[in-house]
């Protein structure tokens, strides 16, 4: 009797485990430096003749200057003790000259790698420029512990801040983990800066989705405080949305399937009396009818088969009509001016690999929030059991968009 074939999902998961084991071998440190060293030597080699000529010219010119200088001083003897040449003293930033605050959370992208970020804004409030030294210790506080940021070497040893100017020490956590993880929210950051002391800044709201945060760099910032950032005028800004003021609904009419691809669209409405804003990617987890978590492998991207969008700030307006799951295609929301004031989440999937599962609901954590919202995917008379998700739960999630 012929043995049953191994399911694709088992083959895929074994192969994935093998590849992770195989490619988890230690990375040879300094490999990129060796490459760059080669580049530099290649460049030096090509410019060797030029260097020889320019060196010879420089030596001759210096010799001439020395001879001329000696002749001019033979007649007039130099003073017995010459005054020391003043060297410019670069002052170090101290607690009295620099003010540190937290910047609002944001999202940045470096190619396919995306980060949810926050930052410490150092503003020079003194009348003269100073150099900010690299922090010697930096930790973020999560409910259970303090997590150290261990790549502080990425920060320059000293960063000059002009009077009235500011720099931002940006740090963050990568988003787009292949597996769902309960969001861990860092609530404060502590950093020790030489000559500045230990700063403890509370009010941080940083989602750590893929492990501890890392330092992303030191960026120059506008001298004005972040609330008047020129990139986003105060007129178009709103406070971050809270889970308690948000309503999320499955929109069957806006969802669809074609050529082996499926899309699930969720609508977001502000049910409170004040507008609020959302920016970034949601974290999604499918849930079965019995409440068990289904395999969900989220890839955060800006394009799936049904829609392309970009990372944007979405302001949810008040007074919008409640969203209807069975809203007919072509009517509001989506594709209409009446859609203004709502936000949308688009989840794309393909069915390359089995198995498929039926998700009765989806648990969503919106960007900037720690609480999740459960959205039913069941539609009476159409999809009473929920929505089918294939490819072992592999999905492409777009950022919250208008």
């Amino acid at each position: 009797m012929r043995e049953p074939e191994l399911p694709d999902e088992e083959v895929a998961s074994l192969t994935r485990a093998y590849l992770i084991r195989r490619t988890g071998q230690p990375y040879p440190r300094g490999l990129e430096s060796r490459a760059l060293g080669f580049v530099v030597s290649e460049r030096r080699h090509s410019g060797l003749n030029w260097i020889i000529v320019s060196t010879a010219v420089t030596v001759i010119a210096l010799g001439a200057i020395v001879v001329a200088f000696g002749l001019s001083h033979m007649a007039a003897p130099s003073p017995s003790h010459s005054a020391p040449v003043p060297t410019p003293q670069l002052s170090i930033c101290t607690a009295g000259s620099v003010h540190a605050t937290l910047t609002p959370p944001a999202t940045s992208a470096n190619g396919v790698i995306r980060y949810t970020t926050d930052g410490v804004l150092f503003t020079n409030i003194s009348g003269s420029g100073c150099s900010l030294e690299r922090p010697s210790l930096m930790q973020v506080t999560v409910p259970s512990e303090k997590l150290a940021i261990d790549n502080l070497a990425k920060v320059p040893p000293r960063t000059f801040i002009a009077p009235g100017a500011a720099v931002t020490l940006e740090f963050g956590s990568q988003v787009g983990c292949s597996t769902f993880q309960a969001p861990l929210v860092a609530t404060s950051v502590t950093l020790t800066v030489p000559n500045l002391g230990t700063l403890s800044l509370t009010g941080l709201d940083l989602n750590l989705t893929c492990g501890p945060p890392i330092v992303l760099g030191m960026q120059p910032s506008p001298s004005a405080p972040p609330s008047t950032s020129p990139s986003l005028s105060t007129a178009t800004r709103a406070p971050l949305c809270l889970a308690s003021q948000i309503q999320v609904s499955y929109l069957m009419g806006a969802s669809g399937a074609a050529a082996g691809n499926t899309s699930i669209v969720l609508g977001i409405r502000d049910g409170s009396a004040r507008p609020c804003e959302l920016r970034g990617w949601p974290i999604v987890q499918f849930v079965a009818g019995n409440g068990a978590a289904l395999p969900t492998r989220e890839m955060q991207t800006t394009s799936n088969f049904s829609l392309s969008t970009s990372l944007q700030t979405v302001i949810l307006q008040t007074g919008t009509a409640p969203l209807q799951t069975t809203q007919p295609i072509g009517s509001a929301p989506l594709g209409s001016t009446q859609d203004q004031g709502y936000g949308f989440i688009s989840i794309g999937s393909d069915d390359i690999l089995l198995p498929c599962e039926t998700a009765a609901s989806v648990r969503v954590v919106l960007p900037g929030m720690s609480a999740s919202i459960v959205v039913s995917l069941r539609v009476p008379m159409a999809f009473p059991a929920g929505q089918v998700v294939c490819s072992g739960g592999r999905i492409q999630v777009l950022p919250v968009h208008r």
């Binding site: 043995e3 074939e5 191994l6 694709d8 083959v11 895929a12 074994l14 192969t15 994935r16 485990a17 093998y18 590849l19 992770i20 084991r21 195989r22 490619t23 988890g24 071998q25 990375y27 040879p28 490999l31 990129e32 060796r34 490459a35 760059l36 080669f38 580049v39 992208a109 470096n110 190619g111 396919v112 790698i113 292949s178 492998r297 890839m299 991207t301 800006t302 394009s303 392309s308 969008t309 970009s310 990372l311 393909d350 390359i352 592999r394 492409q396």
Partner: protein, 176 residues
């Protein structure tokens, strides 16, 4: 073919074209490229060489790059091409000899370790493009269409590479 992984636009400013821009944007990718190359060429020394070749290629073409937003995808493609080329050279050089550092040899492997050894045996029979597809799709989570862009082939060809790889893996694992 335009890669749709990132819609963020980064204009080709002079600071991106500079050596500092190269160091800031490319060098952090070295570790990721190494792991990708290692999955395809199956040999640590060869993977290191592939990263070197990728960085050198990137260095030479960096100032002429038109889209710095998708530099990661571009680097991935360069790395996959170098890996496939090197793997083909390797196969003609030492046919059938696997990397002895593949998995730690154990006198009595556990059932799971045994299955990984089966995967390792099956993996040896995959062609370089099939390895690239399996790595990018199964390990890194790229869609088939995105893999096609990263490898530089049509989506149908990428789907075919993946399908054949799955058939080979399933066959070897089923026979084990």
């Amino acid at each position: 073919v335009g890669l749709t992984i990132s819609a963020v636009t980064i204009p080709a400013l002079p600071e991106y074209r500079s050596e500092a821009g190269f160091e800031a944007m490319v060098l952090p990718e070295a570790e990721r490229l190494y792991r990708l190359a290692l999955a395809i060429v199956d040999d640590r020394a060869d993977a290191e060489d592939v990263v070197q070749e990728t960085l050198l290629s990137a260095w030479r073409r960096w100032p002429a790059l038109s889209d710095y937003a998708n530099h990661s995808a571009w680097l991935t493609r360069v790395c996959v091409n170098h890996s496939i080329r090197r793997r083909r050279q390797f196969r003609t050089r030492i046919l059938g000899l696997g990397d002895r550092e593949m998995l730690p040899r154990q006198p009595e492997p556990s059932p799971f370790e045994g299955r990984l050894l089966d995967v390792h045996r099956a993996y040896q029979h995959l062609s370089p493009p099939q390895r690239a597809m399996v790595t990018l799709h199964l390990r890194d989570g790229f869609t088939v269409n995105e893999c096609a862009v990263l490898i530089g082939c049509r989506p149908g060809t990428a789907r075919s590479h993946l399908g054949r790889a799955m058939v080979k893996l399933r066959k070897e694992l089923g026979n084990a």
